[in-house]
């Protein structure tokens, strides 16, 4: 077949240019360590990559949410444990009190009860490092437990009812804070301590009022005001509080379990997805470098052939 001089050169050149383009692309892939340089290089693979990236992203966000939830719950749990210990100790002390004790002993116990009262109020009004009250539900800038301490009162006076100023327990997820730890799964991270502190209301269930009243009555110099009923009321209030606390502790524990489970499964999912993603994106270095060497050799051969044939002309012999 006849070959024109022009097409002879253009076809050799086309071959060389193609090899150069392939080598340039391989260089870029190797330099970046990535197989897919642009979505059009592998549309199907890119689709998969996008799906995996999205999923990893969403799961990682849930892990961050879980961490926040855990922090809140751990903080709450620590405070609740402190309250429990305090209540148990106070209950033990109450067992030692008798209305028939002499004044100096009764005054001592009054101080103990008053101190317990104060500490319980402080613990109930705990705020987190940002200054938000953790037992107020949604009303994080409002002090949850309000009670005017009447002790010491001489002569003894009646202590008023305590008030809870936070948001109540409502239908989930209202009024107490929930955090989403996985798709559609919410855990409660704030609990209503009022179910412990005001289990009913009135002496025997209103913890702060009952303890305050007991301290007032114990400190009475006449010794005639304090009765065994006062002590029994205090014990009852503490028992009710411990029950309420128990419910909260169980809820916190359950939430922490849920978070732990969700964390484990999400971390595993993220791991699997990440592996798949790496497999899709990562360049097989060995294959790439081998291909590069092959194409380099081919390019050199093409260039050498071009150099040899370009000088072939009949005019050289005329």
């Amino acid at each position: 077949m006849r070959v024109s001089s022009l097409s002879f050169f253009t076809s050799s050149l086309a071959g060389i240019q193609q090899q150069q383009a392939s080598i340039a692309r391989l260089n870029q892939q190797i330099a970046l360590g990535v197989r897919i340089l642009a979505p059009k290089d592998d549309p199907v693979g890119t689709n998969r990559v996008l799906d995996l990236s999205n999923r990893i992203d969403v799961h990682t966000q849930y892990l961050a949410n879980q961490q926040k939830a855990e922090l809140a719950l751990n903080y709450e749990s620590t405070v609740v444990t402190g309250i429990r210990d305090l209540l148990v100790n106070t209950r033990t002390s109450l067992g030692e009190i008798s209305p028939s004790h002499e004044l100096s002993l009764r005054e001592q116990y009054a101080d103990v009860v008053a101190a317990a009262y104060q500490q319980l109020k402080d613990l109930g009004n705990t705020s987190d490092p940002s200054g938000n009250y953790i037992f107020s539900g949604y009303a994080t800038s409002t002090t949850p437990f309000s009670h005017s301490q009447v002790y010491p009162a001489l002569p003894p006076a009646a202590s008023g009812a305590s008030a809870y100023l936070g948001t109540p327990n409502g239908a989930e997820p209202n009024y107490q804070r929930f955090i989403e730890i996985d798709t559609g799964r919410l855990v409660q991270v704030n609990h209503n301590l009022n179910s412990a502190y005001q289990a009913g209301g009135g002496l025997g269930t209103d913890l702060l009022q009952t303890l305050d009243q007991l301290a007032i009555n114990l400190a009475d110099p006449t010794g005639a005001v304090v009765t065994q009923a006062d002590i029994d009321n205090a014990v009852a209030a503490i028992d009710a509080a411990l029950d309420g606390l128990g419910a909260i502790e169980r809820s916190v524990f359950a939430a922490q379990q849920q978070i732990g489970d969700a964390k484990t499964s999400l971390e595993a999912l993220i791991g699997t997805d990440q592996d798949a993603l790496t497999a899709l994106l990562e360049l097989d270095d060995v294959a790439a470098i081998t291909e590069l060497q092959l194409r380099q050799t081919t390019l050199e051969a093409a260039q050498s052939a071009y150099a040899r044939t370009v000088g072939l002309s009949l005019f050289n012999f005329l």
Partner: protein, 557 residues
């Protein structure tokens, strides 16, 4: 015509000279684009009758012709035209593909950062820092959408400019062809011989035009060489070149199309028939990738604005006020229907967003049938519905997510046959923005005053990321974006493959054409030797004939 022993050799010399001259011409033009090698055609003139036999009368150069094969040249023309089309398409498609899919410029990272910040507000609604982060990632998201839309819009403008410059380039080639038509006709009339080099030039110009826009070349037995574009509009007829120009598309004034001016009237070229050359690639890219991408990005913006704002409005901010629009309202992002410039009526129609969840990325055509009846056609699949203006936005029983209305002005009315093009979401991504600037105004709470710790609305806002808010509740914002990337990647990849295929086809067509019509320098070198020897032989013969004459003269002395 010379005869006799001198005459015959003279003719031989002349023939050899012509052949050498043509060979020199071939050698000189070995690299000229569009050159077809020329050859001298020899014939013998009529012999002289004598009683002792017929004596030949030398050699005639009957013509100089091109070695030309119409079929091979056509194949080359076609494949180069298609190559130019796919080169243009692939170049732009590759740019858009990488812009959309890139980690840093694409939408995905901005979208996920924003929802990450929404989650942080849900985790800690009283934190002003978390709220500030939500505002700044929101602005970042808006900025990213704006940038992507701007890249697409800039591409739209560049394509418009290219159409204009291609039109003027084609016009300059066409004028040159018209001039050549005149020259060739008049010079060929002089001696009836083909004007080889002029024809080469003319065909080369036609090939250049074909790389810009596909043309049909019609040659006729009377020698006319005419070019037609589109559905048969004449570009060059004889010595008349009809100029192309870029005009506003009657369908959408933001884009340009080509029109050819015949006798002073501009006739728009049917886009469906402009399929080859650079322009074919640009128009196809605009319809296949650019406009759908603008619509899709816009749809994401509209849906994000509407659904996020709707949830935000259900909540209360840190000051106890009900949530306002977080993003600029979705209604403000909708692009109004654009009346075809060919309409005879002057009715103005407005489109109102109803439910972004039901919006599709398709364009629509609205046609007025007269007597208050309109037909809405969904261009992606051709489905349509007919009815009054208020009822025509449900196709196949499925509401399309928007409503239409006339402007209520009795003075402006539609004429039967008037049309509007609806590209409702194509401008949304460009105008998308955050409307809130005060972090306290983020409505994280579901209940009013005094409850700063209420995060339940923020939780609901965060859940929008994973809930299907688009495409009739089948896709999330990210999913629609991924579909856009995927579709663009597929088209760009196909274009690349086609480009490679046509590079090979063009190369093969070129080699085939060249093997027939191209100059081979070695062949020309051999020809030089042949004709040089022929010349030498003829000169020698002349010398001998001359010496014969001297003999005769010597005898007479």
């Amino acid at each position: 015509m010379a005869s006799g022993i001198f005459g015959v050799s003279l003719l031989g010399l002349y023939a050899a000279q012509s052949a050498i001259r043509t060979t020199e011409h071939n050698i000189a033009n070995a690299n000229t684009p569009g050159y077809h090698r020329q050859q001298v055609n020899f014939t013998t003139p009529a012999p002289t009758y004598t009683t002792t036999g017929f004596f030949g009368n030398g050699v005639n150069v009957s013509s100089v012709t091109r070695v030309f094969n119409q079929f091979l040249d056509n194949e080359l023309l076609l494949s180069q035209g298609q190559l130019a089309r796919y080169q243009a398409y692939a170049a732009y498609a590759g740019q858009i593909d990488i812009t959309l899919g890139d980690q840093d410029s694409g939408l995905s990272s901005a979208l996920s950062s924003f929802f990450g910040a929404v989650n942080e507000v849900a985790n800690d609604p009283t934190s002003l820092a978390a709220r500030e982060a939500m505002l700044s990632t929101g602005r970042n998201l808006a900025g990213r959408l704006n940038n992507l839309a701007k890249v697409l819009d800039d591409t739209r403008k560049t394509i418009n400019q290219e159409i204009g410059s291609i039109a003027s380039q084609v016009n300059s080639y066409a004028r040159q062809i018209a001039v050549l038509n005149d020259k060739i006709a008049s010079t060929e009339a002089l001696n009836g011989q083909p004007a080889n080099d002029l024809r080469d030039q003319r065909e080369q110009l036609a090939a250049e035009i074909n790389k810009l826009i596909n043309v049909s070349v019609i040659t006729q037995s009377d020698g006319s060489y005419n070019l037609y574009v589109g559905s048969g509009q004449p570009l060059v007829v004889g010595v008349t070149a009809n100029p192309l120009s870029a005009v506003s598309d009657p369908v959408d004034p933001l884009q340009q199309v080509l029109a050819v001016s015949i006798g002073g009237t501009a006739i728009q070229l049917d886009t469906a028939l402009v399929t080859g050359g650079r322009i074919g690639g640009l128009l196809a890219l605009r319809d296949d990738i650019l406009v759908p991408a603008q619509q899709d990005l816009g749809r994401i913006g509209v849906s994000l604005a509407q659904s996020f704002n709707a949830q935000h409005a259900l909540g209360f901010d840190l000051n106890g006020a009900a949530g306002g629009d977080f993003f600029a309202s979705a209604a403000s992002l909708i692009r109004q229907p654009s009346a075809y410039t060919s309409n005879s009526g002057d009715e103005v129609l407005t489109a109102t967003l109803v439910d972004s969840n039901l919006l599709t990325s398709s364009e629509y055509d609205l046609i007025y049938n007269g007597a208050g009846s309109y037909t809405l056609v969904r261009l992606s699949d051709g489905a349509s519905t007919t009815g009054a203006i208020g009822a025509v936005t449900t196709i196949g029983g499925v509401a399309q997510g928007f409503t239409l209305a006339e402007d209520g002005n009795a003075a402006s009315n539609a004429a039967a046959g008037d049309r509007w093009r609806l590209r409702l979401t194509s401008g949304a991504a460009l105008s998308f923005s955050v409307a809130v600037s005060d972090p306290a105004a983020i409505a994280a709470a579901s209940s009013a005053t005094g409850v700063p710790g209420d995060n339940s609305n923020a939780v609901a806002l965060a859940q929008l990321q994973t809930s299907a808010q688009l495409s009739n509740s089948t896709a999330t914002y990210q999913a629609v974006y991924n579909q856009l990337i995927g579709r663009t990647a597929n088209l760009a990849s196909e274009a690349d493959i086609s480009q490679t295929a046509y590079e090979t086809l063009s190369q093969q067509a070129f080699e085939a054409q060249q093997s027939f019509s191209g100059v081979n320098l070695d062949e020309e070198a051999a020809n030089l030797i042949i004709f040089q020897q022929a010349y030498q032989a003829a000169a020698r013969a002349l010398d001998i004939a001359s010496s014969l004459f001297d003999e005769i003269l010597a005898v007479a002395r």
